[in-house]
Structure formats: structure tokens, C-alpha cells
Amino acid sequence: MIVAETKPLEAVARMVQGYDRVLAVGCGTCVTVCFSGGRKEVATLAASLRMKRGIEGKPLQVDEAIVQRQCEWEYIDPLADQVRQYDAVLSLGCGVGVQALAQRFPGTRVLPALDTLFMGMPSEQGVWEERCQACGACILDKTGGICPVSRCAKQLFNGPCGGSRNGRCEVDAQVLCAWHLIWERAEALGMTDALMELEPPKDWSTSRDGGPRRMLRDDLRVPREEEGDE
């Protein structure tokens, strides 16, 4: 899932400073399950903003909405009539959701109420950890299902740096050393030989370094009418 956290109230309040009517839009997918942008969080943020502005003597109307997925047109299109009635939309979606709303509703100011953190999972109740950086060329087959791109602070491909101690990362003792985990797993699976091979420099062109990425599936595409005229 995409993991995000709510911005501090002060920061969100600053964004909506000049407005009188705001629509807070949550998302029913990733940010609902990581407790940052679901129905409950939308209600909490809306109430907090109303209260804060009330105390300041500048009442703010904050209405609440939630869509199943902020990153798909079919779910956000039904908001079209509603958003026109507001000075701004406050998105409690991830960065994808914010941009989808902004693109769909070009005449409306769309503001992010969350900071999008990473792609990951809850490793235990109340703890989320990063697992994938979408580098575009998965090597998990070589590393026992543990990703050094997202889980090693130095993105090492050929073993741990010299700072691994007691299986922990030198950068943050709360974080497990990815290469320690990879080695232990390889030992358990009898696959340490595979880690002796030199992993050559990665081609980062499939990652963010190649520029914003697109995926095309011609078999799924529906030709648009205007394209048909070309």
C-alpha cells in the first residue's frame, strides 16, 4: 500500500488561510488502511479546522467527502458538481490522489493534507515499513525476497556496508539491516552461493532517474475519437 501521514494541523490551516469554504476529500483505499486519509481522519481534520478557525473568529466551512480511490477518474468524476461550490479542495489522498483531483478539476485549488511517505506495509500494529521503491527492475529473486534498493540506506547490491551492528542499520538502530536479513535468509535457504556473484551496476533508467514513467498496454487501450481522425 501507499503509506502517508497527516500534515500537522498548523500546516493545513495555513494552506486554507484565505478560504471560507473547503471540501475535504478522503480516499477509501491505501490511506484508509494506514489511518491517515479515511472517513474518520477526514472528519477529525474537518472538525479541527472548523474549531481552530472558530476560535480565531474566522469561521471556515469544511464539508466532507470520501471516494473509493482518488487515483481513478471514475471515482472522482462524480465530485465534479460538488467541488465547484468550494474555494478549495483539501485532499486526504496520497500524492497521486491530489494530482488526480487537480488534473480533473483545473478550475479549483487542490491542496495536500497528507505527506506521502512510501510504498510499504504494516509490519506490526501501528508500525509501517517501506518495502518497495518502484525501481522498475525487480531483483528480489536474487536477494531472497528482501529489497536492498528500498531497505538499505545506501542501496548496496553486493553485501552490507561496514556499519551493520547486531543486525541493525547504522543510520537508524530501529531499522533492520537489509543485508543482514538477506544473508540470514540465504543461509536458511542454503543459497549463500548466489550472494557470491558480483551484481553489476544497476540500470536506473527504469527507475525515477529515467524521468516520469508510463506503462502502456496496447491490448487494453481504447482508441479515443480524436485519435481515430489522425
Binding site: A153, K154, G162, S164, H180, W183, M196, L198
Partner: protein
Amino acid sequence: MIPIQAAAVPGAPSLKTASNLERVLAEGQFAVTAELGPPRGCDAASVRRKTQILKGWVHAANVTDNQAAVVRMSSIATGLLMIQEGLEPIIQMTCRDRNRLAMQSDLLGAAAHGVHNLLCLSGDHQSKGDHPGAKNVHDIDSIQLVAMVRTMRDENRYQNGKDIPGGGPCIFIGAAENPFADPAAMRPYRLRKKALAGADFIQTQLVYDVPRFREFMKKTVDLGVHEKVAILAGVGPLKSPGMARHLRENVPGMSVPEAFDTRMQAAVKGIDADDKQARTRAWREEGKRICVELIQEIREIEGVAGVHVMAIEWEDAVPEIVRAAGLSPQTAAQPQQ
């Protein structure tokens, strides 16, 4: 005068580079290297001063690359000042601050100015340094850097496989290893990986825990790695009992037996607690003595080809340690110019 591109060494056709360190190791001498930390400003005089302290006592000296992720004078620029002063630099290069384009271009430039040695490192994480908000690079890792430099030197090709016009840089390639970091079982294999990637020499993390180092070296020798790569053990003088504790507790992957704290504490026995100068002097003397003993012990371990003396911000200690350890300064020849 700045020497230019390294030429083949006359009378020594088996050498890959014009590196003094390579020659010394090839001759079977016990190699001695030290560390020179570049200044945090642009003070060339401090580099020259430190160079003069080390010159004649070591075969070559490392120049750190934004060590501890703190901005300092560039390692290559510092190295050029050292060459002017007559001491052979081992340029440290981390994967933290440069991508493969910058690394290769810096290497070409360094070689053009007479640099013959490179130490390939991952680099301390920027969160520990003076610009914690910096973006790190890590385009390639330290082992891939070793392989890249070897390809440039031996195959005259860039990392992308294309020919380097006029030939690649003649660089003696080094890498680091920490025998005390986790996972311990992987360390000798990781060292072998560096040797297979093309490392010519290895400098280890500071060794205080000799029994553990001996164990590591035994495994390394069993794997035959010491025949492929010259292993220089890292040593360094303690400055105080606090430093021993600090290294043990705060430097990841360090093993410092508590016996050294005790010895350092005992060194100031009978000295007035208020006489800070006398205490510092006594601690430093004891620190150097311990370092010399460590060198003598480590020297006997099979597969150890030399020592790397890291006296951080204490370059003055190096000549005394080298002399006391019986590592003849006469063998510490100057770089070929």
C-alpha cells in the same frame, strides 16, 4: 611540478601502475599507510604541514573523501597538494556523493595529475554528517566501483563498455573491509568478492580486537583471498579512555575490548586529576604504546601485508608509532615523480 599520466615502471613489468604502494607490496615489504584528513576550509598550508609530518614514514597516505559525511576539501585536490610535497596519496572515493559519470571523470582527472591509488568506499551516511538533508547518490556500490575502475584500467573501457580514448587510468585499486561488522560470517566472503571484482589492496577498519581479527584472517586465508589482494590491517592510537568507550558504543561495527579502557585509565594513575595536560600526555603515550603492540601482534598474523595507521587529527603520532613498531622509515620510499 605536477607529474602527469603514469607510465609503465621501468624494470618492473609485472606492476600494473606507477604506485609506490603497489611496488612496496610487490617487493614483499610490510606496507605502512596512514590517513590524512583534508581541512574543512581551503587551507593548503595545513595539507602541506600534515604531509611533511607523514612524509618518509609511510609508503602512501589515504586522503579521506568528505569523511563522516562532513564537507571538507576534495580528496583529489588534497591529494594533488600531497604529490607536490612528495607524498603518495591514496584517494578515497565514496559512492555517496557521485554517480558513475562523476566518478569516472574525476578518476581520469586524478590520473592525469599523477594519482596512482584509489580506495573505493560506500561512504558514511549523510544523516551522520553536517548536511543531513542532502540527497545521497549510491548509483553504484563500492564493489561495483572497484570493478568499474578495474575495467577502466585493464580493459580501457568505461563502465558503459565503450573504449576510453588514449587508454584508462593506471590506478592501484583499494577497498575497505570491516572484520567486526555483521553479519560476521559474510565478511570474509564479501572481502573475496572485492578481490574478485579487482581490488589490489584492502584496508580494514580499526583493529583492537585481535582475537576476532585473527579469526577473520584465518577464514580469509582459508579462502585464499590474501593471495589475490594485499590486506592492510587498520590500527590507530587511542587518545583517552573515553575514546575507547566512544568507539565501542558509538561507531557502528567497532569492537574494542574493555581491557583497553582499563589500561588507559591506569596510565594516569598518580597524576593529579587537575593536571589536564599531564593526563592528556600520559593517555596519548599509552595510546601510542598500545598501537605499537597491536601492530606487532597483527604483523604476525598470516595474510597481513601491512598496516594502515589511522591517527585521526593526530598525524604527529604516526612517525613515533612507525618508528617504535620497528617499521624502518628507510623503506618508506617517496612516490615516483
